[in-house]
Amino acid sequence: MIRYWKIISITLIIVLTIGTFYIRSAMAGNDYPEFVFDKQSGNENEVVNLTLLGDFRVGVQGNPLEISSEETVYANELSFFERLRGIYMSAELERLQNSYRNFMRGKDNISGIFEDEKRLVYVDTNGNYVRDRPREYTFDIEILEKDSKDKLDFTVTIPEKNKYNYVYMEDVQVLDNVMKVTTVNHSVNGNGYGSEEIHVYSLDIANQKLVNDEVIQLSPEQSSGQNSYMYLVQDESDIGLTTYLVFKKEYMEEVEQADGNYYNESIGSELITYHLASGEQRPIPLPEEINTLNSSVYLDDSIIYIDKTTDQGIKVSMFNLESQEIETSKTIKLPANLTEPLNTKIMDGKLYVVGYEVSKNTKAPLLVIDVETGKTLFEGIIETKNLEENHLEYEMNIYDMDLK
């Protein structure tokens, strides 16, 4: 034995140190703090499904986390295989991958998915890659009939080839035999300036042909020197049928900052709807006092919600697309001590308000307010539990929220 001391001692050192290291790091679990929704008034059922996404930070090192009413999960606590699946995979995509495992292979862009009771559709844009040069784009379409498990796939060339550098999928809808595919087409003109157009393509599924190409356009009041930016308001994780597509366009102006740099400042915005069945486009007639500038817009079936933080509180408005009428418009006053900037989001007809930052000296408020009545359903703060000594100087930033 003594002759083999080299191999024995090296192996021993390796097994002992590497072994202890990984066993200890597995046993220790995490010593990161737990965050809880601490109720002050209201009904705690209102926050049962709420998930906050954030980042926990001590010094320079950040660690992404998800806070729900039950637990706080840090990204670095996930096992290797959980990380492999992706930390931020949307629940909808995960459900589809589990139910239609083979059909969903290689299909990970949720904007290209449409699902109803009868079928599951995936549309992808495909272009021959030529660096920064306009190229020919096609739609690669796959349709799965849920009952018969039949799969149909076909390819349709996007018109005006060699005009667009990029064509991004935004949304897919299927009405009977017509498929409506919404894309953002990026092109570069002769001067090297880029521009974007939103197109709604209508495809005839039976004949596998493109039958219509519409551009979403707004009132041509856009003056020279103004930039504009348009996007689809629909949440990309809504993969079912809707009646309307809603777009928001923001006008921007270059403003010189104190440091001499230019940056784009929004100076105006408007909303436009596209009625899928008729193909009719029209701007939403919002009165002067409901200004969508610097506001968040949400679509829930045929109701548009608008929320905007003002000096007086949070102004929320509901606009009904069917009746073309404003159903509610009110300013919700927040408790006087809430002066910090806040995250706001309207989900399921309720306004969720949460602070941006939690730290030793800052407590983030959490509020759930019914948009229609303006009543506060839940009021509380985000509290820390099990805070270890070495994390006293922490900072936790919340950047998004979701309902599970």
Binding site: Y4, T17, V60, Q61, S79, N390
Partner: protein, 277 residues
């Protein structure tokens, strides 16, 4: 089996002197480094707070707290690690060529041993494996010691204490050497040793066919790498990604095993039939 262990022990012995020197350099440089860096920070703090009467809060805001994170980014810490990596990469080649170009063509005696010649090949792979993982272990032992020294020199209000895992995940390079999950550790070093197998086989090609062998060795290496990264090539060049991440992982494990088996089989053939002394 016994002859294999003998050979590993023998190969370790041949590198032991240089190995201990490498470990010595690492220990001295890192321990000295943590002392120098901590003292340097402390004298900066003294200069600012006592001599220039800057408030402590302002000093901390400007210079930040002292922590192991600062130290692991310095040359004192990374320098010896880089040196050890370079030395071991060099030794991957030297472990073979020393047998041919040493004083008395030692390979002649190794190949004459009354044991399977593949044992010589496997013993050399095992040696490199033990040497590499051994250095990683030494680093894992050193980290808490360095952390203790830092705590000893810098007072608590000027430093941020990090756990060993936090020190490691703070440094991009250290995180590759010691990832936070054991599976990732096996993946990192598994890929590393697959490459060692490929290099050794390529060396045997060269030793078997000399100049022509260099070309064969290169072709063989490229082929092996292509087999291993085939699913990724499909995705990059043809946009094909049919596999879910877990399936891709299993595929890669199988491909790595295939590449390693091919390397062992090829080496066995070369070292038995083709190698020239």
């Amino acid at each position: 089996m016994r002859s294999y262990f003998k050979l590993v022990n023998f190969e370790l012995g041949r590198f032991m002197k240089i190995y201990l020197v490498l470990i010595g350099i690492t220990i001295i440089s890192q321990i000295a480094g943590v002392i120098v860096k901590s003292r340097g920070y402390l004298s900066e703090a003294n200069q600012a707070i006592i001599v220039n009467s800057m408030p402590k809060e302002q000093f901390l805001e400007q210079f930040g707290q002292m922590s192991m994170g600062t130290f692991t980014q310095s040359i004192w810490f990374m320098g010896p690690i880089a040196l050890c990596i370079a030395a071991l990469i060099f030794y991957c080649f030297f472990i073979w060529y020393r047998d041919w170009f040493g004083k008395n063509t030692f390979i002649y005696r190794l190949l004459m041993l009354p044991t399977a010649r593949l044992h010589v090949f496997l013993a050399k792979v095992t040696t490199i494996f033990l040497l590499v993982i051994g250095l990683v272990s030494i680093q894992l032992i050193l980290l808490p010691i360095e952390s203790m020294i830092l705590k000893f020199i810098v007072p608590i209000d000027l430093r941020a204490d990090l756990g060993i895992m936090e020190i490691i995940s703070n440094s991009r390079y250290l995180f590759v050497l010691v990832p936070d999950s054991f599976i990732q550790f096996i993946i990192n070093y598994g890929i590393g040793f697959m490459v060692v197998f490929i290099i050794f086989t390529a060396i045997l090609f060269e030793r078997s066919f000399r100049l022509k062998g260099i070309l064969l060795g290169i072709v063989y290496s490229v082929l092996s790498i292509i087999v291993f990264i085939f699913p990724l090539l499909l995705e990059i060049f043809f946009g094909v990604n049919y596999l879910y991440p877990t399936e891709l992982f299993v595929t890669e494990v199988i491909l790595a095993i295939i590449v390693i088996c091919a390397a062992i089989w090829t080496s066995n053939y070369l070292i038995n039939k083709k190698v020239t002394v």
